[in-house]
């Protein structure tokens, strides 16, 4: 399970994995992922860039030199109102996976310190059409997000006032929002072979390479925390400016050297929106009255069946119906890796109903009921239904 978790985290995103379809599309700031290159991609770049440049790239990548920090953000957006003073911007679509989620999980796991969690801030509001991706969302401190919300409210009020004034003359109104963020690579978060030797890793150990890859993944994701972010709004009666310095964005995250050592154990497993396979062991044969799987279903049915919309009875048809409902929850609920009674489990929760179940990593049902407020809060903040 731990291996799956790490590979899921280190899996390159589509954006990162994609090699340019034509070398002419190469742009400053583009960061290659050679793992995803096909021979045809390399040949095409050889033709365009020459053997020397491509050899340099491949050598750099094989030594882990290349970082994949996001391209700096430098965007211009509009907030538009029609001649009646009504805003015409269309809201963006929410996405679940964000860099803040990943870096927060890596902090919780103890790979870096301090564990000062960040939140994803939209430089251009999602409600105005700001995309929910790395061209617009940056991780930063909650306090900075709160300060930025005040700034957004301020310029929104000014824009509305200006739009209403323009509407009196039947004129449309537009304000311009410029967003900027700068990123730097974090090679200091990587682990070299010499450092692994010093930490006590044997030269031949399957886990050694995994630990090095883990830190390469940490370095990549933490390079997505900006060192500066700015937003300027013009077109209003007075220009508005917001600036977040490096200190406003986050503390100085450093490698946790204890976590480099072979003996390091991740303190507590917790990952939201996990992408593991959604395994659920169903009753293989309904005839044996005392099969383990049927027994677990019977327990849930008799105690909490009503919460899942079935009778609190152990009758066969009732158990089959309950099994179907639990399977739906496994397929549709948020998957959260966490703990149940000190044991690693996979949680599934429906946020609208607070219906929950957890399974052992192989998919065997462990427990299921409707969470209370406290249990829901605990699950989504700690990965444990009782904190």
């Amino acid at each position: 399970m731990k291996q799956s978790l790490q590979s899921a985290r280190s899996r390159p995103s589509t954006r990162e994995a994609a090699a340019p379809s034509d070398a002419r599309e190469l742009k400053p700031g583009w960061q290659p992922d050679v793992r995803a290159w096909k021979a045809s991609d390399v040949h095409r770049m050889q033709r365009t860039l020459g053997n020397h440049a491509v050899n340099q790239l491949l050598a750099a990548a094989s030594h882990g030199v290349i970082q994949r920090k996001p391209a700096d953000i430098d965007k211009t957006w509009s907030i538009s109102f029609d001649a009646t003073g009504k805003m015409t911007n269309v809201g963006g679509v929410r996405a679940v996976l964000k860099r803040a989620t990943v870096v927060n999980a890596q902090m919780r796991d103890g790979w870096v310190k301090p564990n000062e969690q960040l939140t994803g801030g939209h430089l251009f509001k999602r409600e105005y059409g700001g995309p929910d991706d790395e061209t617009n969302v940056v991780p930063w401190k909650q306090q900075t997000e709160d300060n930025f919300t005040v700034f957004e409210d301020d310029y929104e009020l000014a824009a509305n006032t200006a739009a209403q004034a323009a509407a009196k003359s039947a004129l449309p109104f537009t304000a311009t929002v410029k967003t900027k963020a700068q990123f730097v690579d974090r090679p200091d978060l990587k682990v070299t072979d010499d450092e692994l030797d010093t930490a006590g890793w044997p030269a031949v150990d399957a886990e050694r390479k995994k630990r090095q890859d883990q830190y390469a993944d940490v370095a990549e994701h933490f390079s997505g925390i900006p060192i500066k972010a700015e937003v300027d709004v013009t077109g209003l009666s007075s220009a508005k400016h917001f600036e977040a310095s490096k200190a406003d964005i986050g503390p100085d995250y450093v490698r946790n050297d204890d976590a480099i050592k072979p003996a390091y154990v991740v303190p507590r497993r917790f990952l939201r929106n996990a992408k593991l396979s959604r395994d659920f062991v169903k009753v293989p044969d309904w005839k044996p009255q005392k099969s383990t799987e049927r027994g677990k279903l019977g327990h849930v049915a008799s105690r909490h069946g009503d919460q899942f919309g079935v009778a609190k009875s152990n009758q066969l048809n009732n158990l089959k119906l309950l099994e179907t409902k639990l399977e739906v929850l496994v397929n549709t609920g948020e998957q959260i890796l966490g703990v149940y009674r000190k044991i690693d489990v996979v949680h599934y929760v429906d946020h609208a109903t607070k219906l929950w179940l957890c399974t052992e990593p192989g998919g065997a049902l462990t427990a299921a009921f409707m969470l209370t407020q406290d249990q829901y809060d605990s699950l989504t903040t700690t990965g444990h239904v009782t904190g």
Binding site: R94, Q117, T119, Y340, Q373, T380
Partner: protein, 137 residues
């Protein structure tokens, strides 16, 4: 401790003093706990401002638009506005009784110690700790 929780605390004491079997304790505790949980849900439903605020906070939290710490702090502020409750969400007492419920739900007669399900001895231990925590709160 207040008298509001006399039933559920009395049940825990009865089990702690071996006046009740594990199976009987689990069944009766579940009923009492579910009633307390329903009260919490009802109190939120009676206060649409709190319900809306909680829904928005959860939405933001689920999309990583607010940190765990900020989420925990802000839901507590909302829970503080609820009225007509014997057990307020977010309090130490609520968390303690919630923990005992999870342990009781995990009880199986044939469980092995240290496993994913709780033995009668483990349940006794958790109930004793729960009583101590309630006394301290």
């Amino acid at each position: 401790m207040t008298d509001d929780l006399a039933d559920i605390v009395g049940l825990m004491r009865a089990f702690d003093e071996n006046r009740l079997s594990a199976q009987d304790f689990v069944e009766q505790y579940s009923d009492l706990w579910n009633a307390l949980a329903r009260e919490q849900d009802d109190a939120i439903a009676r206060n649409p401002d709190v319900a809306r605020a909680l829904s928005e906070l959860r939405d933001k939290h689920n999309f990583a638009e607010i940190t765990d710490a900020a989420y925990s702090e802000r839901v507590q502020q909302q829970y503080a506005l609820l009225e007509g409750l014997r057990l307020r969400p977010g309090t130490d007492r609520s968390r303690t009784l919630s923990h005992v419920f999870v342990e009781a739900d995990a009880y199986r007669e044939d469980a092995e110690a240290g496993g994913i399900h709780a033995t009668a001895d483990e349940l006794h231990e958790e109930v004793r700790k729960g009583l101590e925590a309630l006394e301290a709160s």
